[in-house]
């Protein structure tokens, strides 16, 4: 099938039907699902934003110094926008595919593999948006208490960008979901891909590297550009110098990763059937 047709399947009702199925499951247990994104920022902000900040002092951002607490808060939101869809598309999608056989049932209907993959991407991305919003709400509480600078008015723009990046990270994760032989092998995409990506991302700590390799990795890493753009939006109310790279790298990753994850999922589903 033509690549453009595959990509345009995102607008097909069948992709939305898969998204709708996952959303209905979420509605059954949304209260428990909301607990981690509500509690984690409290723990991390207390540990990093308050505890570590006393040792770190100021951190450079767009040519000025900001306190570490204000610097790390947008990073925490960016990390959530990355980690939620990435792990949702790794673990939850794998469980639906391999253990629950949910995909087998869906593929016996009018839904095709291309819609199934889009549905999973859309769902994982929207979960990322949802969790990013929850983290933002919690952090705005710290801002209201005067513990960090945080422009809540920028949240809609942050969420829009989180959606695009989340779709891209979900599509990227589905590549591994389609190829790992067993759930234990998820350690490879988690520790060899996810963890290094978050290291070179400016989410929790700044990197002042003289290494051209690290610089190149950061330049290619959508998460790095996402974190910096979140920072510009939430601290300065501006799109900032990384906005174009954040949108461009996320979009490129989404297109390439979707096509790859579609092809690999198709191979896997047909082979395992």
């Amino acid at each position: 099938m033509h690549a453009l047709s595959l990509l345009l399947s995102v607008f097909d009702w069948r992709s939305r039907a898969v998204l709708g199925r996952n959303f209905k499951v979420f509605l059954r247990n949304w209260k428990t699902a909301m607990l981690p994104p509500a509690m984690e920022p409290v723990v991390y902000f207390v540990a990093f934003g308050i505890g570590l900040a006393t040792y770190v002092g100021g951190v450079p951002h767009e040519g000025r110094m900001v306190d570490y607490g204000s610097w790390v808060a947008p990073g925490m939101m960016a990390y959530t926008a990355f980690a939620t869809p990435y792990y949702e598309a790794l673990y939850s999608a794998y469980v639906r595919m391999f253990y629950q056989k949910t995909w087998d049932g869906i593929l016996a209907t009018q839904v095709e593999i291309r819609h199934l993959v889009w549905g999973e991407i859309l769902w994982a991305g929207l979960r990322g948006v949802c969790n990013t919003l929850v983290v933002g709400i919690v952090l705005s509480g710290f801002a209201a208490a005067g513990m960090l600078s945080f422009d809540f008015a920028a949240i809609p723009a942050v969420l829009a960008l989180a959606a695009l990046a989340g779709f891209a990270f979900a599509a990227f994760a589905l590549i591994f979901t389609a190829i790992v032989p067993a759930i234990d092998h998820m350690n490879y995409p988690v520790f060899l891909i996810g963890l290094p990506l978050s290291f070179v991302s400016h989410t929790y700590f700044p990197i002042e590297s003289q290494s051209s390799v690290v610089e190149a990795l950061m330049g290619l890493n959508p998460l790095y550009h996402l974190a910096e753009t979140f920072r510009s939006l939430l601290l300065d109310g501006k799109l900032g110098s990384h906005f174009g790279a954040a949108v461009g790298s996320s979009f490129a990753l989404l297109v390439l990763a979707y096509l790859a994850s579609y092809a690999l999922t198709r191979r896997r589903v047909v082979r395992d059937a």
């Binding site: 199925r21 209905k24 629950q100 056989k101 049932g105 593929l107 016996a108 009018q110 839904v111």
Partner: protein
């Protein structure tokens, strides 16, 4: 006369060098059950998957309701129901939610879905489990739910892939009754099964596959008669002359008796039976009508014909 629901011609599917399906053709009429039979590796499941659109044939055509499947895929998949062999129920939902969510995978939407679901819960005896999790159902009721789900959108053609595998006898009979009723309502059904009694009981016509090809097609009796004739000799395992008869059948007549427990079973002519019975009056030889089990055993033993 109505046009056939489904006509497949010259289907070929290759997996590497192997031709899993090799020029196969079949047709299914409204209100009838077509049984696909054959030993493991004969190409039944691959055929079924091509027919319901899971696999693309490398060659050949599939016409459903008079329209080319390849060209009208989305619309024609609306007319198909698939009851998979594996348990693919959605355990995140209750029984009734399984039906609702499954219906959401079809367009045009199922008209009056609530009434349709009530009708299916009644027909399949699932009303009292309406809000239960599928995980609490017995194997027989899970199969009922999978089957109910596969027709929630009122398809015209239903694929049943080994629908009663693993069920106890009463659950199988209950499912047979439902299949009978669906057929009487005009649904075309294509069935694969390993249970020969099930094929004999349910199928109006059989297609016997071997190595990806059709080797026999027709009514049950017609197919059996073609391969096995009208009689099967049974040599009891307790007969003193059992081994001598076995040797004679193989060496003098080129037959290959199947051993079931200690008894030998082999299709023979009435003349041969009379001859053997006369020479071994104490052996307790008897004749019975051949069944699909005999055909299946023969195909399996010979690795196809």
């Amino acid at each position: 006369m109505d046009a056939p629901l489904l006509v497949a011609e010259g289907l070929v599917k290759r997996f590497g060098e192997k031709r899993a399906v090799d020029g196969l053709g079949l047709r299914c009429e409204r209100g009838s059950v077509l049984g696909l039979l054959g030993p493991n590796g004969a190409g039944k499941t691959t055929t079924l998957r091509m027919l319901y659109g899971f696999l693309e044939p490398d060659e050949g055509s599939i016409r459903l309701l008079g329209r080319e499947f390849r060209e009208h895929r989305e619309a024609l998949k609306r007319e198909i129901g698939v009851c998979t062999q594996d348990d693919s129920l959605d355990y995140d939902f209750s029984v009734v939610q399984n039906l609702e969510v499954y219906a959401s995978y079809f367009r045009p939407k199922v008209p009056d879905l609530g009434a349709r679901i009530d009708e299916l819960l009644e027909l399949f005896g699932l009303r009292e489990y309406r809000d239960a999790s599928p995980s609490t159902l017995s194997g027989g009721y899970k199969r009922r739910l999978i089957l109910a789900r596969s027709i929630v959108h009122r398809p015209k053609l239903l694929f049943l892939d080994e629908p009663t595998t693993g069920l106890d006898p009463s659950a199988r009979v209950a499912l047979w009754r439902i299949v009978d009723r669906l057929r009487s309502e005009g649904l075309g059904i294509i069935l694969t099964t390993h249970y020969m009694d099930e094929a004999e009981r349910l199928a109006d016509r059989l297609v016997v596959l071997s190595r990806g090809r059709t080797i026999a097609e027709g009514g049950t009796k017609e197919v059996i008669a073609r391969f096995l004739g009208g009689n099967v000799l049974v040599v009891p395992g307790t007969a003193a002359a059992r081994d001598a008869i076995d040797r004679e059948l193989r060496e003098a007549h080129g037959l290959r008796p199947h051993q079931i427990l200690d008894d030998l079973h082999v299709p023979v002519t009435p003349e041969l039976f009379a001859e053997l019975a006369a020479r071994h009056p104490d052996a307790g030889l008897s004749l019975r009508r051949p069944t699909l089990d005999d055909l299946f055993l023969r195909l399996d033993e010979e690795g196809g014909l």
